[in-house]
């Protein structure tokens, strides 16, 4: 039935004001930002897989959650947005057997031989969509998927994540969810070594053991503003959103120089980067003691975010991608 409807619709109608996008719950914050494109996002919830975490992030008005394990027939979806090759891609393949829809594959992660076998990584490299979107050039080159591929950098809401007049407190902040379990990419052990005997604060969902997540983006922005230094220790993350948010808040940042980070941070200008733990600690201590340096670096960091990661650019590029996939669908 949907095939026939699609043919009739494409023959009769102009480009819709809003696309109906079938997707899956993945990164609440990223998806909240995607929702600012104004399209309708229908989220397919599959039993025993990730659900939208409402305690952490409110569901946007144009994000609709489908009944569990159901893809509603009476909604005319325009395309599928897959955000994970671990389970979503497979579900999408099942869906298109009865509803042939074009697929955008958005890749948030990197191939990680530490946790996934080479055989599985090879298989995942075959899981491509009609358009493949990566969040950094680094990520795109690591996956080695060239056909119909593009890079859309994160967008940072620089109105929410902005400098606020607040008294700085003498601590180093790191934001990370599931930090211990994701040691292989977030480098929890390195973080422990670098911050040993320093006043370090962790924010993020860590089973209540290490820390708790902020309840809203505003609360998180306040955390970034209160700290003197933001420390990022990731070793395998294309571009950590928390690092960008911290920079947007005008934080002085110290970070590992991995993946796309050296493309964003110029050492000594808008932050400090190094892959030497001793040096990371020294730079952190230096910033804790030097207010003027923190201020200059923080201002430069915010400028970088406004130039490279503007939210409007992010939304425009996604809107173009959505138009592109729908044009391809007509053909």
């Amino acid at each position: 039935m949907n095939n026939i409807k699609d043919i009739i619709k494409s023959a009769n109608s102009q480009k819709p004001d809003k696309y109906n996008i079938l997707t899956f719950p993945t990164h609440e914050r990223y998806e909240t930002q995607l929702c600012k494109t104004g399209h309708n996002f229908y989220s397919c919830h599959i039993q025993n897989n990730k659900k939208w975490n409402k305690e952490q992030t409110a569901v946007p008005e144009n994000y609709y959650i489908l009944p569990e394990n159901q893809v509603i027939n009476y909604i005319d979806f325009d395309f599928i947005l897959v955000q994970s090759k671990y389970w979503q891609y497979q579900v999408a393949m099942d869906i298109i057997k009865s509803r042939p829809l074009p697929i955008i594959v958005l890749e948030h992660t990197l191939p990680t031989p530490e946790t996934v076998s080479q055989e599985n990584i090879q298989a995942m490299k075959q899981m491509v969509g009609h358009i493949n979107v990566f969040i950094s050039e680094f990520s795109k080159s690591e996956w080695g998927i060239e056909n119909n591929s593009k890079v859309i950098y994160h967008g940072v809401d620089s109105e929410t994540f902005k400098p606020i007049e607040v008294d700085k407190e003498n601590y180093i902040l790191t934001v990370a969810n599931d930090f211990k379990n994701r040691n292989y990419c977030l480098n929890y052990e390195g973080w422990n070594r670098i911050t040993e005997n320093l006043n370090a604060v962790l924010v993020g969902e860590n089973n209540g053991e290490l820390s708790k997540a902020c309840k809203s983006a505003d609360e998180l922005a306040l955390e970034y503003n209160k700290c003197k230094v933001y420390l990022n220790t990731t070793t395998l993350s294309p571009i950590p959103m928390s690092l960008l948010e911290a920079m947007s808040c005008g934080c002085a940042v110290v970070s590992t120089a991995t993946c796309m980070i050296p493309e964003v941070i110029q050492d000594g200008l808008n932050g400090f980067i190094s892959n030497d733990e001793k040096e990371l600690r020294e730079k952190t201590e230096m910033l804790l003691d030097n207010e003027e340096l923190r201020k200059t670096m923080g201002e430069n960091a915010r400028k970088t975010i406004q130039n490279m990661f503007s939210e409007q650019r992010f939304l425009d590029e996604w809107n173009n991608t959505f138009d592109q996939i729908c044009e391809a669908k007509k053909i």
Partner: protein, 140 residues
């Protein structure tokens, strides 16, 4: 706002304004007129008697805003009967279908009502024994 009108169906879409008409139309009536951009009447009209189905449809139309979309689906009377005559549907399956229904109608009847109320039919598609109509309110 998007509205979904159902009859005793727990599998609704979270984020839609859901109205269950099992115990009447008061919930539906409370929605502000012309406020819904999309209305879905799904697996619902068959479950109520003929007059009640008309009433639900009429009230729903008053809630639809200009350029808003309404989607109605249900069992298609004519197709079901033709399938019985053609032995595509046997007595057992026919009984199953009608055991869940309090009324049946043809998609062309729904289409006619929608057209009479100044809606433009976008699609009217039959699959198996069911119809699904999508219409747009193009003028007031």
């Amino acid at each position: 706002m998007k509205t979904q009108i159902v009859y005793d169906d727990p599998s609704t879409i979270e984020g839609f304004e859901t109205v269950d008409v099992k115990y009447g139309t008061s919930g539906l009536e409370q929605i502000v007129n012309n406020s819904s951009e999309e209305i879905y009447i799904t697996n619902c009209l068959d479950k109520v008697d003929f007059q009640e189905a008309n009433k639900i449809l009429m009230i729903a139309l008053t809630k639809l805003r200009l350029n808003g979309k309404i989607v109605v689906n249900g069992t298609n009377l004519r197709t079901l009967c033709l399938n019985v005559i053609a032995n595509e549907v046997d007595a057992e399956n026919f009984s199953k279908v009608i055991s869940n229904c309090s009324s049946l109608r043809d998609s062309s009847d729904i289409e006619e009502i929608l057209i009479q109320h100044n809606l433009t039919i976008e699609t009217n598609v039959i699959r198996g024994n069911t119809y699904e109509i999508t219409a747009i309110r193009t003028n007031s």
